[in-house]
């Protein structure tokens, strides 16, 4: 049933763009959410530095995990709109800087003082925090961010994933999925529900399916095949939605700096 519906959708001729409601208001609502998420990441990074200065390793680890929540949710826009900060903050593999440089030190057998790295991360997140408040966010760019992140969730994590040292790759994926849902519901669902309710429900259903697949005890319990397929079905559905939203087909890689 699900596949049939989607194939009918794929075969359908794109309807003309609808301009019933401008994206501007939705973008600004989404900006507020991003300010909150980046703020959470920044707050977590500051807490991390404070904990490190007190040699509170357990607390620093928790702060690192907390900071990742806001960061992973905001990845919908970071790769496309601030790629240089995206690279600096979330470089991988990199033991020298960014979230993962701190992770390598903090979650190792002998966690040392990572204060310098934390200071650098705070500066970068503060820069991001300032820029997200004023930078131009386009619906096209944000749809592309949603699509890219949805695709990325389906990539293999058989090697332990991005945050393998802290064992929190599954958290990353869940927060990515939350970020996707937030962006979709805030930015695109209201319009799509007007022009193609069935497709809107389809997209929401796939996002729900994606999240459900991540509601497992640990990374190794994720049904990787199903997750990959679901991520692709979601991307295909979002690509089909683009012209109905008056947007171009989203690309799967962010433009180079």
């Amino acid at each position: 049933m699900r596949l049939t519906t989607l194939c009918i959708m794929l075969a359908a001729v794109a309807v003309p763009a609808v301009h019933a409601e401008p994206f501007d208001e939705a973008v600004e609502r989404y900006r507020l959410a991003m300010i909150e998420d980046v703020g959470q990441a920044l707050s977590g990074a500051r807490d991390l530095r404070d904990r490190l200065s007190k040699q509170d390793i357990a607390g620093a680890r928790n702060a690192w995990i907390d900071a990742r929540v806001g960061w992973e949710r905001s990845e919908v826009f970071t790769s496309g709109f601030v790629p240089e900060l995206d690279e600096a903050i979330d470089a991988w593999p990199d033991a020298a800087a960014g979230f993962h440089g701190i992770e390598a030190q903090l979650f190792g057998a002998d966690p040392a003082d990572g204060g310098d790295k934390a200071d650098a991360l705070i500066a970068q997140l503060a820069d991001l925090d300032a820029r997200v408040r004023t930078m131009k966010l386009t619906p096209q760019g944000l749809l592309e961010g949603v699509v890219r992140l949805a695709y990325e969730i389906g990539d293999s994590k058989v090697d332990g994933g991005e945050s393998r040292l802290s064992g929190t790759s599954l958290n990353d994926m869940r927060n990515n999925a939350d970020g996707i849902e937030l962006a979709y519901r805030t930015l695109f669902a209201p319009k799509l529900e007007v022009v193609d309710r069935a497709l809107a429900e389809r997209v929401q259903s796939e996002i729900g399916q994606l999240k459900a697949l991540l509601m497992v005890a640990d990374l190794k319990s994720v049904d990787a095949d199903n997750l990959r397929k679901t991520s692709e079905v979601l991307v295909v559905a979002l690509q089909a939605a683009a012209p109905k939203l008056g947007l171009g087909t989203p690309t799967l890689e962010a433009a180079s700096r």
Binding site: C7, L10, A91, G160, D225, V233, E253, A255, R257
Partner: protein, 456 residues
């Protein structure tokens, strides 16, 4: 003399290849993975075994059945269960139909290159409670090498393939069509050509004196059992096998392994206990009381090395080889879509999808600080491959919905892109990809640095 230097050069080259592969490998890490931490699948190897097919050597091309078998062989879904979750397929152990000397899973292997097929990880019901791994054999020339299994338990390759899937990996019962295809594929994998061997497995004129002396020793009756010689079991005219099981003092009855292309099949013996021909010759000398002098042992090793040789055993992985493999696997859709064979379409989409995603990771994204330059080329390459993945996905969706006309159109687009535009984009980005040894070393060094920092 020239030939001897040539041989020595080949051995040195092979050693360099193995060193390179060691340098490029990276273990699975963390406590959240399906396979235990420290597992080594050797999937990062840059130089991979060269695979040649009897059908192509004969001037023809691989049939649909052979390509389908190749597809199934490289599909984790065929093995199901834990292997599927871990992304492992038959091809993980038998890389390009050969072996995988670096394959290692803690508690399932006692050394790189062996694997306990009756362990608890993949099929707890088959767990015999003993860590008794067997070496991973090469499948080159399998059509000449029955019975099958290290102990020769199955006369039929078809039965053996089913045993591996269902009993060793607890996989779903394979269809008759898939088993036929697997057999067709495996039986099409040929030995590498060996110019040092002529008809009936005799050394050619290019052989060195030591190799010739070794050949004479190989057929010489054992001093305490004149009815036996090395050649009694390793019959030169019969791919160096006798299709039988023997007890050679290694702890049981095991089938005679071929010596053809064996230079590239270490470790040796049923459990992979030996690394070299020197150790093997020493073992037989002791067990059968052969009384070989050190010089005779060296001559036998020279002979085994000559017999076990093969032309260009490894090939450098790269855009061309990866796309050729993907094209061969996807070609199954040429037949399966018009035939409305949904099961095969789904299998092809799933397997090629994985391959394309893996290929995408050869082109590091903008977050990888170990790679400098070519960011736009890498971006285009990644984007093109992701686009192919989604086109494949649409083929699967359409076929599953019974819309085969839509699937054909999507497949045509997939084919056109994968044959022209995508190869060009990938080649343009190759110098900044992990196919470039310098880039690869930098990437894995950065990864290693992360682990070293964590493990200090």
């Amino acid at each position: 003399m020239i030939q001897r230097f040539h041989k020595a050069g080949l051995i040195v080259a092979a050693t360099m290849v193995l060193s390179l592969r060691l340098a490029a490998s990276f273990p699975i890490y963390g406590h959240q993975t399906v396979l235990p931490a420290g597992s080594e699948l050797n999937e990062q190897a840059l130089d991979v075994p060269r695979e040649i097919f009897r059908s192509e050597s004969a001037g023809g091309r691989k049939s649909y059945l052979i390509n389908l078998g190749d597809l199934a062989f490289n599909s984790p879904s065929l093995l199901g269960g834990v292997a599927r979750q871990a992304g492992m397929s038959c091809g993980t152990c038998h890389v390009n139909g050969a072996s995988n000397p670096k394959f290692y899973i803690p508690h399932m292997s006692t050394r790189p290159g062996n694997f306990d097929t009756t362990g608890s990880l993949f099929n707890p019901k088959a767990d015999n409670g003993i860590l008794d791994p067997v070496r991973i054999p090469s499948l080159r020339g399998a059509h000449l090498l029955g019975p099958y299994g290290i102990d020769g338990r199955n006369a039929s390759l078809r039965d053996f393939a089913r045993t591996v899937i269902v009993e060793e990996f607890a996989g779903p019962e394979p269809s008759a069509a898939l088993l036929d295809a697997l057999v067709a594929y495996i039986q099409d994998i040929d030995f590498l050509r060996n110019l040092g061997l002529g008809p009936a497995g005799r050394l050619t004129a290019r052989a060195s004196d030591a190799e010739r002396r070794g050949e004479a020793l190989f057929v010489k009756p054992f001093p305490h059992n004149p009815t036996m010689s090395c050649a009694t079991c390793h019959v030169p005219s019969s791919a160096f096998v006798d299709h039988r099981q023997h007890d050679v003092g290694s702890g049981g009855m095991f089938k005679t392994p071929t010596l053809l292309n064996a230079d590239f099949n270490a470790p040796y013996f049923h459990d992979g206990r030996f690394d070299s021909y020197d150790q093997i010759v020493g073992h037989f000398d002791r067990v059968f009381d052969l009384g070989l002098s050190p010089e005779e042992q060296r001559d036998l090793v020279a002979y085994l090395t000559a017999v076990g040789d093969g032309e260009r055993p490894y090939e450098r992985d790269g855009v061309g080889a990866a796309l050729k493999e993907i094209s061969d696997l996807a070609s199954v859709l040429d037949t399966a879509i018009p035939a409305h064979d949904t099961d095969i379409i789904v299998l092809a989409v799933d397997t090629v999808d994985r391959e394309l995603r893996e290929l995408t990771e050869q082109f590091p994204d903008h977050k990888d600080p170990s790679v400098t330059g070519g960011q736009e080329e890498r971006r285009r390459a990644r984007g093109a491959l992701k686009d192919l993945v989604l086109r494949l996905s649409r083929i699967g969706l359409a076929a599953s919905a019974g819309q085969f006309d839509v699937a054909i159109v999507e497949y045509r687009n997939f084919r056109n892109l994968s044959l022209a535009a995508v190869p060009n984009l990938l080649r343009a980005a190759q110098r900044w990809s992990l196919f470039n040894p310098t880039v690869r070393d930098a990437h894995y060094a950065a990864l290693a640095q992360m682990l070293q920092t964590a493990n200090k």
